[in-house]
């Protein structure tokens, strides 16, 4: 159980590292958010689950935290991405079907 727990903890930590690196390396804010969110959410799930395995008493509470973070993290990222889009951050895209929804009234 302990070893399994630590494996999860390690995986989680690695995804955290990956998330941070992605945040750093990706070229624009949307890509950064993508990398960051995916990696840290999985990282959280793995790390916290690992700790739950290491401390079975805490498991329920930890699952709650996992649920909480798994909901808030993507919602936060989406919100931020939308905000970034609206605030006209430079976007390096070929195709943009979002314009009609969000910036429709801005085009003059």
């Amino acid at each position: 159980m302990n070893i399994l727990g630590y494996i999860f903890v390690f995986i989680g930590a690695l995804f955290y590292a990956l998330g941070g690196l992605g945040m750093f390396r990706m070229p624009d804010v949307f890509n950064r958010l993508q990398a960051g969110t995916k990696a840290t959410t999985l990282g959280t799930i793995a790390l916290l689950f690992g700790i739950g395995l290491l401390n079975p008493d805490w498991m329920i509470k930890i699952l709650l935290i996992i649920v909480f973070l798994t909901v808030t993290n993507p919602v936060g990222s989406s919100t931020l991405a939308r905000a970034a889009y609206i605030s006209n951050v430079k976007k390096d895209v070929e195709k943009d079907e979002l314009k009609s929804l969000l910036n429709g009234d801005d085009e003059k």
Binding site: Y16, G20, R32, S77, T79, A83, A84, V89
Partner: protein, 84 residues
């Protein structure tokens, strides 16, 4: 020993998000970096609970997570409100 390594790896992730936080270049970038960093820190607090063998840190983690989410939303709404 394991704990230290885990710590170091998490720290690695936090470090790069802080780097992005400093470098920007836009407010959105910084907010994204901060958001990522906050998630990492939340995880870190849970990990600390394990290290100190004290479940009280779990409550702190929830509070921290909630407040960091709030922060992301506030920044987002601010960005939207101040579109150029």
């Amino acid at each position: 020993m394991t704990d230290i390594i885990v710590f170091a790896i998490i720290g690695f992730g936090a470090f790069f998000s802080i780097l992005r936080l400093i470098m920007g270049p836009t407010v959105a970038d910084r907010a994204a970096a901060l958001d990522t960093m906050n998630v990492i820190i939340t995880g870190l607090i849970v990990f600390l609970a394990h290290i100190f063998e004290n479940s009280l840190y779990l409550d702190i983690a929830i509070v921290y997570g909630a407040l960091s989410f709030l922060e992301t939303v506030v920044v987002s709404r601010y960005l939207e409100a101040n579109k150029k």
